[in-house]
Symmetry: none
Subunit: 135 residues, 4 copies
DNA sequence: GTGGTCTAGACCACA
DNA sequence: GTGGTCTAGACCACG
């Protein structure tokens, strides 16, 4: 299900957070859908249960999941997310990265392409059209 | 010269890397210009010299600086940078962040504004055409 | 009858305890009144019977209910409650929370409003003088 | 320094969170003051370092602390706290508890006393007057 | 020295 | 069965 790089500088739990966040953002995981149990993922990925739990807890703190003792972890609806401040941070980060990319030679055309791809990969809130570029 | 936030989760050396990178990108620091010595920065910022050195080393690894033993650290020219791979990474990262921002409610209009700001900021400083720095 | 929030961190049995306690406190459930049977509540709320039982047991331990084998669960009269110690605990807890709220910026005015609301809500329902229920 | 009850239903890390929060609220711990290191507390309380860290991390998430790798954990200034939503929750909780206390026999006089104590224990932001009831 | 991550494995609470 | 807590102990990153 996931590809983890244990030798990476990025902690395993963070890699997990990113992967799962991506699945939620691209709506591959729908709101209220159940995630694999900690123990299942743990054995599938041969990663300690505590590490999986750490990732799930982090996603819960960020508002992407909710957890029910005895039942499992579930995808949170977007409404339950504290997104104002987060958005401001994200915009600043994006601007920084684009500035760096331009310095390294990103052309206006490249940016347009990138911009176009994003619009068509992630098409609003409730698309029947899941013709996404990502598999 | 710099504003460091000791409270931030981001390590100090990383904050330094980001700040210096920003000065280079916005061309406040020009190619082949000399950076302040480790000792000077260290005492100015009241930061451990090791930490400054760590930041300089990191920037050198990323191709933003080159160092000459006994003389100091200098801004690298863009031509000397390994930017193909870096650019690919950056584009992927930017796309990921924009996708996340859209999920959190960023509108098309917001994106246009952000896009405009980036173009405007970078054009103003150094060139009237960023579309052909490379290839 | 009840609204349970499955997404809450709070276990379902605890949510049940709180709701029922509230009904007793606001005297919507009167002393010696019978509560719905475990099976009924269970099927109405689509909650595991064990969970309902757990809540009833908890309320019995706290003195809010008494149960008669083969007949059901009933609201306990206030006289039968061990409230001295409980009151002391509650007062300590309330003081702690108010102190925290003040630290987070609660003003004296806010407190007065809150104070007023409590008095008003409780007076309206059952008595014109709450100052002498006990001792 | 702290009194922990390992047999309590309340997890150790939560007991720690509560104790430390209290020290911060009563301003016994001042902003930017350093907390005991994880390992020191760990050995003093004969509690596993991970458990202490869990408590510190929780306090950081709630905005009461900030942590610097390699340096330690520090008390956060109040300005850095997300207190709007928190305050609303606290007020609701306080009202609930007062209602319960009144049901159990809390008199108006008791409430006045309690109210008075709080005001004089926690006297605004910057008191020279530390004549607090709490030791 | 500090905090951060991860593992192996135990035991408890909830549904 | 699920998640939550805790321990013992190892190793890494930071300053």
């Amino acid at each position: 299900m996931f590809q983890l790089d244990v030798r990476s500088r990025k902690p395993i739990y963070e890699q997990l957070v990113d992967k799962i966040k991506e699945l939620i953002i691209t709506q591959i995981l729908k709101p209220d859908e159940q995630l694999p149990s900690i123990r299942m993922l743990s054995s599938q990925l041969t990663v300690n249960p505590n590490t999986i739990q750490r990732a799930y807890r982090e996603l819960e703190n960020q508002g992407y999941l909710y957890s029910i003792k005895g039942k499992g972890n579930f995808v949170a609806a977007i409404e339950h997310m504290p997104n104002e401040q987060k958005l401001t941070e994200l915009k600043a980060e994006i601007k920084k990265l684009i500035a760096e990319a331009i310095y390294l030679g990103l052309t206006k055309g490249d940016l347009d392409v990138l911009f176009f791809e994003v619009n068509h990969t992630n098409k609003g809130d409730n698309s029947d059209d899941t013709s996404s570029i990502r598999k």
